[in-house]
């Protein structure tokens, strides 16, 4: 394997990894605050893809407006999901919330299936994101540069919000002890809604970039990326934002590089991802960046 081939694979791996990472951040934030695995998170990727698609194709908005609309609407749907499905069972055992999350996921998928239909639709890619640069033998798709840049910027913004702002402080406090925080006069529901909105908007950005990279949108397109992002979040240490991004990158790189080196395994890419997760859970249950569990 020569150096050009290896660099090329690393670029592909990083691109996929960033997309997993963006989704994983949303997973991890909701988990951090509510201790809930929001299985509907992957489907928000599908929602944002369809919103952007209809924005461009049916209403013929310019793409920046369609993408911004996709982020806002997806964020709003995130809040709706929390208010409609998770808030009424906030005090119930955690397993009820988990099953509700799976229910919401099915609801979104089948709603899209009924309303839009099951045949894949082509996503119109704006000119700005098309084409690729050639550096020697290595091809650098313009979209990969965008994906890397957008992910880095969004990660910075999320970290700044969590660590530097009052609402971020409330989020961090909430993840420690919800009851005490509510006693301190903080509007818990507002903070949770904000978390959902932020996480869903990240999923929306991930979704729009995902369907520019793989331009076939269909109701079940969010399932596999959602699962992969979940693996990435666990890998990085669930509840930790930087960990989720790193987990995503590791997962993306591992998937691409293993298949590039060992093409016979190319049918088992998903298996590779889940084997990595099992291995991490066995050796380091709290993930790469996770805190040590108290004995």
């Amino acid at each position: 394997m020569d150096i050009g081939f290896a660099t090329q694979q690393i670029i592909y791996g990083l691109t996929v990894g960033c997309l997993y990472g963006l989704l994983a951040i949303g997973y991890t934030m909701v988990y951090g605050v509510l201790r809930l695995i929001n299985f509907a998170h992957g489907d928000l990727l599908m929602v944002s893809a369809y919103v952007a698609f209809f924005g461009i194709v049916i209403f013929s908005f310019p793409w920046p407006l369609a993408f911004a609309g996709a982020a806002l609407i997806t964020g709003f749907i995130g809040i709706l999901i929390d208010r409609g499905a998770y808030k009424p069972i906030r005090k119930s055992p955690r397993i009820s919330a988990l099953i509700t999350a799976i229910g919401v996921s099915f609801l979104l998928e089948n709603l899209a299936l009924v309303i839009i239909g099951g045949r894949p639709k082509p996503f119109p890619i704006p000119m700005l994101f098309e084409g690729s640069l050639s550096v020697g033998q290595v091809k650098l798709p313009i979209l990969s540069i965008w994906v890397l840049a957008v992910t880095t910027v969004l990660l910075m913004i999320v970290l700044a919000i969590i660590n530097k702002t009052r609402i971020g402080m409330a989020m961090r406090a909430l993840s420690r002890d919800m009851e005490t925080v509510s006693l301190m006069g903080i509007d818990v529901n507002r903070v949770i809604s904000f978390t959902f909105a932020l996480g869903s908007m990240l999923a929306a950005f991930g979704g729009v970039m995902w369907c520019m990279k793989y331009p076939a949108i269909e109701p079940f397109m969010g399932v596999i990326p959602g699962l992969k992002a979940f693996v990435a979040a666990v890998l990085g240490g669930i509840g930790n934002v930087t960990g989720a991004a790193i987990g995503g990158l590791i997962l993306g790189l591992a998937e691409v590089l293993i298949v590039a080196v060992q093409p016979d395994w190319s049918g088992y890419r998903d298996a590779i991802a889940f084997c990595i997760m099992i291995f991490i859970l066995l050796t380091r249950p709290t993930g790469i960046m996770g805190q040590k569990l108290p004995d």
């Binding site: 081939f5 090329q8 694979q9 592909y12 996929v16 299936l113 239909g117 099951g118 045949r119 894949p120 639709k121 082509p122 690729s132 091809k139 798709p141 990279k213 793989y214 331009p215 076939a216 269909e218 109701p219 079940f220 397109m221 399932v223 596999i224 998937e255 691409v256 590089l257 298949v259 590039a260 093409p263 190319s266 049918g267 890419r269 998903d270």
Partner: protein, 371 residues
């Protein structure tokens, strides 16, 4: 007294015959209306409905189509089949469109002794050892052979790379038959890479293929994945021609693949330009009027499955599944939309094969190959 009795008997008989005349014959339509091959299911449904407009009756009774969605999934396909047989009480089933789902569903119909006719399931296993499973299409050993000949004779290929879907019986089977013919004719398979239905990223597989620089890429897969593979291949500068099977003939191939699927060759069941016979012309006209679409292989094959079944029910003179089955086997030189169909005792049909090509964003007809 005798007169009154005979009169009331006649009346009774008349009422009985009227009742049975209006009694519909239930036929199942087992189709993937959603999921990874939803296009095939919806094209098939268009075909069934248009065909039913032409022949709405069998034995003087209306034919009712009961649609059941298989979600392009093997387990759901088997469930949908049991629903058709147990609840809808169908006397025969038309479908499924793809091999994996047909195999999964056929176990049930075989045990229940309900005849089923698949319009387009091409894997040889579909009908193997089964008495009640039929199809109106060619089978994959033929298709793989024609594909390999096409690669060697028309595309002048000496080396080929194969990329296929390991979770679909159709893909695995067709890949094997292509490989056999290609290597026997002196060609060399330089790489075999695989993926799973629903995968969207093929860059590692394609980088591998690019580094081996084959003369042709054989992709015996379905339309969504094929379009994305073509896109990603061209993006990374992999320019080898792509050759595919009948599984790519859906409008989605061009919608998703755009200019990157231009020049893609594939073996197929049918092309609109083949239409010659009066029944085919009549069907084509009605199909265009009803749906506003061009007639594709899947709709045409579905129509033939429907017409063949109605013909068999009429010849059987009864809606009894066993009798319908016996009539289907005896089908000889049946004039369908896609050409003449003769059923062999093993449940397979003798059918011609077509080579198509993507040209200017449309499927263009290249040639017909007789078996």
């Amino acid at each position: 007294m005798v007169r009154i009795v005979s009169f009331s008997l006649t009346l009774l008989a008349l009422m009985f015959s009227l009742a049975s005349a209006s009694d519909p014959i239930n036929v199942g339509a087992l189709l993937p209306m959603t999921g990874s091959v939803a296009a095939f299911g919806q094209m098939g449904w268009d075909g069934f409905q248009t065909a039913r407009k032409i022949q709405p009756q069998a034995l003087g009774r209306p034919v009712e189509l009961k649609l059941s969605d298989t979600k392009s999934d093997k387990v759901d396909s088997a469930n949908a089949m049991s629903r058709l047989i147990e609840r809808e009480k169908v006397v025969a089933v038309l479908g499924e469109m793809i091999s994996g789902d047909t195999i999964a569903a056929s176990d049930y119909s075989e045990r229940a002794k309900i005849p089923m006719i698949s319009p387009t399931a091409t894997n040889p296993i579909v009908t193997q050892g089964k008495k009640f499973v039929f199809r109106v299409c060619f089978i994959d050993p033929e298709q793989g052979r024609v594909g390999a000949r096409l690669a060697i004779d028309n595309l002048k290929a000496k080396t080929a790379a194969i990329i296929y879907d390991i979770s679909q019986d159709y893909c695995v089977g067709l890949k094997t038959f292509f490989q056999r013919e290609f290597t026997q004719s002196g060609g060399k398979i330089v790489s075999e890479t695989m993926f799973k239905t629903g995968d969207r990223d093929f860059t590692p597989q394609l980088s591998r293929i690019k580094s081996l620089n084959p003369d042709v890429i054989y992709a015996p897969i379905y339309y969504t994945e094929c379009a994305l593979i073509a896109k990603q291949a061209r993006e990374m500068g992999l320019t080898a021609p792509i050759l595919a099977g009948d599984g790519v003939q859906a409008p989605e191939l061009m919608q998703l693949g755009g200019k990157d699927v231009e020049g893609l060759y594939f073996t197929a069941h049918f092309h609109e330009d083949m239409v010659e016979t009066p029944i085919a012309k009549k069907f084509l006209e009605l199909f265009r009027k009803e749906t506003g679409k061009e007639l594709d292989s899947y709709s045409a094959q579905a129509a033939d499955a429907y017409f063949l079944l109605i013909d068999a029910i009429n010849r059987a003179g009864s809606a009894d599944p066993q009798k319908i089955r016996d009539a289907i086997v005896e089908t000889k030189d049946f004039n369908g939309v896609t050409g003449k169909i003769t059923m062999k005792p093993d449940g397979n049909a003798i059918k011609a094969m077509v080579v198509n090509k993507v040209k200017d964003g449309k499927f263009a007809y290249v040639t017909t190959i007789m078996p």
